[in-house]
Point group: C2
Chain length 214, copies 2
Amino acid sequence: MESTIDRPRRTLARNQRRQQVIEATISTIAARGLARLTLTDVARTAGISHGLVLFHFEAKENLLSETLACLADEYQKNWQAALETAGPGAAERLLAVIEADYRPAITTPARLSAWCAFWGEAQSRPVYQKICGERDAFHIQTLEGLCKELVQEGGYTLDPVHVARILRLVVEGTWLDMMTVEASYSKVEARQTVLTALALCFGKHFADPQTAQG
Amino acid sequence: MESTIDRPRRTLARNQRRQQVIEATISTIAARGLARLTLTDVARTAGISHGLVLFHFEAKENLLSETLACLADEYQKNWQAALETAGPGAAERLLAVIEADYRPAITTPARLSAWCAFWGEAQSRPVYQKICGERDAFHIQTLEGLCKELVQEGGYTLDPVHVARILRLVVEGTWLDMMTVEASYSKVEARQTVLTALALCFGKHFADPQTAQG
DNA sequence: CAACTGACTGACTGGTTTGTCAATCAAATT
DNA sequence: AATTTGATTGACAAACCAGTCAGTCAGTTG
């Protein structure tokens, strides 16, 4: 008897199909941008009719919101998971949160590209702003908390809010660089840059990759 | 005899009208985003017919490219002018280039918003990438050069490329923050963050605003 | 003043795109 | 096997929008 369960089905379960369409949306945004995105594009990428996309998401606007929410969820779960498996020390935990941003599953070219596209459009769309906003606030709060711990621990004369911001911006910035800057650099270079920033901020806790090697 | 020169004319000179339409485009992008931008929107903002927009720019795509080129030009001229009027020392010059990014004329909400919109769309549009790319490369080169000078001058054990990148990303990042992050902070806060970063990188040349005050 | 040039308008066209819906089909249930 | 449920399609309607163009008008030049 052949298996009837794991053979690809013509009709998929609701959640599976929705996830598949969202993946197709991410790819299509990466390839064509938000401005030129059409439902027919998305449908073609997913290998289904455009009517089915609307059947599952009601409206284009809704599909886009849910796609962004999916990306934001993924991002948050990723760094939170990293935080949970990290050791108890503030330094370890800060490093874990930062390194989580460079995990391959998160930094897919298509995902980065889609993320940037939403970011650019968010200026004029409160809906998008709100989806990212709450999760962002939590992320920032966490970073600030860890920096505060480190400042107290190491007796640094630094404003934890400023330092947390600097570190976050360097991480986010290297993301964007890897996408946009023409002569783009590698993920290794990006992480080295972040480690340099960490060493500059918290020299007693982190060694500069430069001096550590040479 | 009344003046015939400075009275507002119904028909404008070619360059004047083009500039006006570009300004209208920037405002409209800020208000509606690139994805929903229509020529009718732009025309309404400029107070002219949408036929005239096409008369001056041939095609929508062309209007957008020229608008982006205008923003990029403006940006470059701004920091280059700041560099020319700065003193001879590397520290002064670096500070001048960085502070130029916070001049009010450049950091208009509409301009920042439009800039972000183009940035987001640039992933999938080589045309946009190219317009920014060359100018960006020059900007990065300049920053790296100044950082290199400072490193030699102060005997820091730092990679100038990494430091230049960190500083640039903090500046760019505060820009984006002021636009996107929900509980946004002020331009003063942004500049303080950058000064903190400068002090962390080049402690012998720049004082942390924190310790300088307290 | 007459002729001319170039800016300007607004109606129109063709093509594209979102969203609807009736019909179809696969899978589960009875 | 018959019925039901819910996914799926493709044809269709309506809206929208970029781009065209014939004709108008303002400003200039001879």
